[in-house]
Amino acid sequence: MRWTLLTLLSLTLLAGCDQPGPETDNGEAAAKEVNVYSARKEALIQPLLDRFTEKTGTEVNLITGGADALIERMESEGEHSPADLLLTVDAGRLYRARQADLLQKADSETLRNAVPEQYRHPEGYWHGLSVRSRVLVVAPDRVPANAPSRYADLADERWQDRICIRSSNNIYNQSLVASLIAHKGEEATEQWARGLVENMARSPQGGDRDQILAVANDLCDIAVVNTYYLAMMHNSDDQTQREAAEQVALRWPNQNDRGAHVNISGAGVARHAPHPEQARALLEFLVNDESQQWYAEVNNEYPVKEDVAISETLREWGDYKADDLPLVRLGENNDKAVRLMDRAGWQ
């Protein structure tokens, strides 16, 4: 008897959880919502989505999670998937979603004008929303001003036991290696990776901020990190983080040749989107001046759109030359990169 009651209770509770999805399409409010699968953390996207709702009256439903898991979920949901827009924080995953035929073209003049060619899919399956570069961070008192100046230098013997970098599980490292494969070929890149592994001050651990802290605390002299991590530490509420950021110096790599490796956060409209129009509207909203500026200010990323103001920290770092490799190539080379890092012993 008690169990029956509990079961009933549970069912009621389950039924009480509202579930937006295709079935509400028949309802009257159908035109007024859009469903987002986001690999970007809630805190870093919700304010923009709220603003979108405010301006257009379209409700935004959000699920956040790892990009790979969200892609798997979309795949298994198939044509019944409620997803309208897939948001990821790297180009490789968008490439993967496109390969799995989970995206549809979203082409418009607004999008073409806002997003430079290099940062979008050639046929419009996905578009970049913000740009970040993977740069070197050094201890200025222990590292000469002229070296290292390129990614290639990280394999140089003189940096034996002096480099900190996170695990090869991390997509940013995989993308960096994928870009090196595109530029130098697999063999040369593998040699490089072996040299880098030799030079690691410790086995890879922690995230990008941890690598910066390690340089600040003399555990190593050089680290490889994404720009916004350093910028966010500069602007942190936490004194330790701010002080660590002050103690290190940023080095833009490869400024005299191809430029620093860059990646994007981006989005694509889902292949079976129940609300494709709203999805495209949201995509366009995310590349308008106001949203682009928000990205720059709050998350210290570079806007994809030109002529949008960047944050003060980024301004202080000055202009840099970015690698103009089409980002599709990162996705294409991703599994080669992972294999190569396995062979080189990069944990």
Binding site: C17, P22, E23, K41, I63, G78, N169, D335, V338, D342
Partner: protein, 537 residues
């Protein structure tokens, strides 16, 4: 004694139930039907050795550590009297509330060069971000599994055996090793088995510490190499290890009967001399390291953020977490009771197999399990929608994969083995003579179960429900992937912020997980305390 045959439908329903909960196992084993993945030569020649070695060493260290700490604490608490015993008895459960990934984050913060401890310590503090450090973290939060089950076993052990041992001249150590320990072995082994499964499935801690294990290797193979097949086959390696563990455990106690009569245990012995404070300090240590210090660090981090404490959004996080955890606890309890008691009342090889099969969900890394659930429920939803559309009805949408059903189902698969093992150990201590007596008096199986087993199993029931509740509260990867739109939980929020390297911001939801976890711990401690007092009255 002849056993009444069950109606066919009931057996069928039981098999279907077990099948549903054994799905992850079936999906993973089914992967071999497609033949070995082409990536095996690459894995063999590069990373597989490291994965296996690290997983093995982690298991050895964590297994030994939790065995010693858990059993030792339980024995001292049950058999001796010393200052602070009453508080420590329940305080030792507190680390249970702390997810391993969270304690890894906080200890990293505590021991960091710029952290609070290094400023006081006159010597450089050890670096814990390595394999041994990961084992340390896992021991700190997992030992309560062994402690809880061992303590319960020691408490319900008959005083007779120990009294006899004493009158035969056995010393304290001998009574422990030769009488109490063998009698408590099923419970202790069940506890260590849970610990080992948690260890093998752990992803957060080893990932943060940069220790490549089978669990991180599965993710990497799956997503980095994009090879589902190799990942699933790698996961089957994990499951095989589990299988061997469980098989060894069962084999070891095959011919042992551990059921005892219900004579209350002997009076607690007071510890004298230096032993008393030593016991107090020794038992305080795990609580301090596994709960108090990390909690203080979290409080310090969260202090700036306290304004959000009563926001509607934060309350929603709490209510979502509690809802999912309670539903999962109820589901697993109901399923485990059905399976375990049917096994006892109507023994057949098939049901025994079902019991073994459902245990494997626990060893599945959360994301792998989640993806398995997504596949199955997606297929179910697709079929349902197509069928209804074909019949001219409106499509109901994703009623399984798009609702809380998916989360609760996945968490239930993952944690079903906790009540299943706990209840099995509980049943093992009930004397079969009781069943026989009840049956000879004409009791039907259901009334035997309801009137005799259920009341006697109150403690294992409560214990398992608590463990599942707290575990679900902490569960991350499956919840993250499967939750419906706009449904956040405390663990999801804490993880999102922590993995974004915003430890300080993650502190508030993390602290809430700890607090929410304390509540059932306290309830349990109280209930056990009452029972205990009754014995000593």
């Amino acid at each position: 004694m002849a056993v009444t045959a069950a109606p066919a439908w009931r057996s069928g329903a039981l098999v279907a139930l077990a099948l549903a909960f054994a799905l992850p196992l079936l999906v993973v084993l089914g992967s071999w039907l497609a033949g070995p993945s082409g990536n095996w030569p690459h894995l063999f020649s590069t990373v597989l050795g490291d994965y296996a070695l690290n997983s093995l060493v982690l298991c050895l260290l964590t297994g030994t550590g939790t065995l010693v700490v858990g059993t030792g604490c339980a024995w001292l608490v049950v058999v001796y009297r010393f200052p602070g015993r009453r508080i420590l008895e329940w305080a030792l459960l507190l680390p249970l509330a702390c997810p391993a990934y969270l304690i890894a984050y906080t200890w990293t913060g505590l021991l960091a060069l710029e952290g609070p401890l290094q400023q006081w310590a006159p010597f450089p503090l050890p670096d814990i971000r390595n394999r041994e450090g990961a084992a340390m973290m896992l021991i700190l939060v997992l030992y309560p599994y062994v402690y809880l089950l061992a303590r319960q076993a020691f408490l319900t052990q008959s005083g007779t055996a120990l009294d006899v041992a004493r009158t035969l001249g056995a010393g304290a150590l001998e009574r422990f090793t030769r009488v109490a320990l063998p009698l408590a072995r099923p419970a202790i082994v069940a506890g260590v088995a849970l610990v080992l499964m948690e260890t093998l499935a752990d992803y957060g801690t080893v990932k943060y510490f940069g220790v490549p294990t089978l669990s991180t290797g599965i993710y990497r193979t799956w997503f980095g190499l994009g090879d589902h097949l190799a990942a699933a086959q790698l996961a089957s390696g994990l499951l095989f290890t589990m299988f061997v563990l469980l098989w060894l455990e069962r084999r070891a106690r095959r011919h042992r009967r551990t059921d005892t009569d219900q004579k209350p245990p002997a009076e607690r012995q007071p510890l004298t001399g230096v032993a008393a404070p030593a016991a107090t300090v020794g038992l305080t240590l795990p609580v301090l390291l596994g709960f108090v210090l990390p909690a203080l660090q979290l409080i310090a981090w969260a202090a700036d953020d306290a304004g959000h404490l009563l926001s509607a959004e934060f309350l929603e996080l709490i209510s979502n977490s509690l809802l999912i955890a309670s539903l999962t606890a109820l589901t697993t309890l109901a399923v485990a009771l059905t399976l375990v008691s049917s096994h006892r009342l109507l023994p057949t090889g098939l049901r025994r197999l079902a019991m073994r099969a459902v245990a494997f969900g626990y060893a599945m890394p959360g994301t792998v399990l989640a993806v398995g659930v997504v596949w199955v429920l997606g297929w179910l939803d697709g079929g349902l929608n197509d069928t209804l559309a074909g019949l001219g009805f409106a499509e109901p949408g994703l009623v399984f994969s798009g609702t809380l059903f998916a989360v609760v189902f996945a968490c239930s698969i993952r944690f079903l083995t906790i009540p299943a093992q706990g209840l099995e150990a509980g049943f093992a201590r009930l004397s079969p003579h009781m069943d026989e007596a009840a049956r000879s008096l004409g009791g039907r199986p259901w009334s035997l179960f309801r009137r005799i087993h259920l009341p006697l199993l109150r403690i294992p029931l409560l214990t398992s429900a608590l463990l599942v509740f707290v575990d679900t509260l902490k569960e991350l990867p499956a919840t993250l992937v499967l939750r419906p739109f706009d449904t956040n939980t405390l663990a999801v929020r804490a993880f999102e912020l922590a993995s974004d390297e915003r430890l300080a911001d993650a502190a508030l939801p993390a602290l809430a997980i700890l607090l929410a976890g304390i509540l059932p711990v306290a309830l349990l401690a109280r209930s056990l305390g009452n029972r205990d007092d009754a014995h000593h009255a």
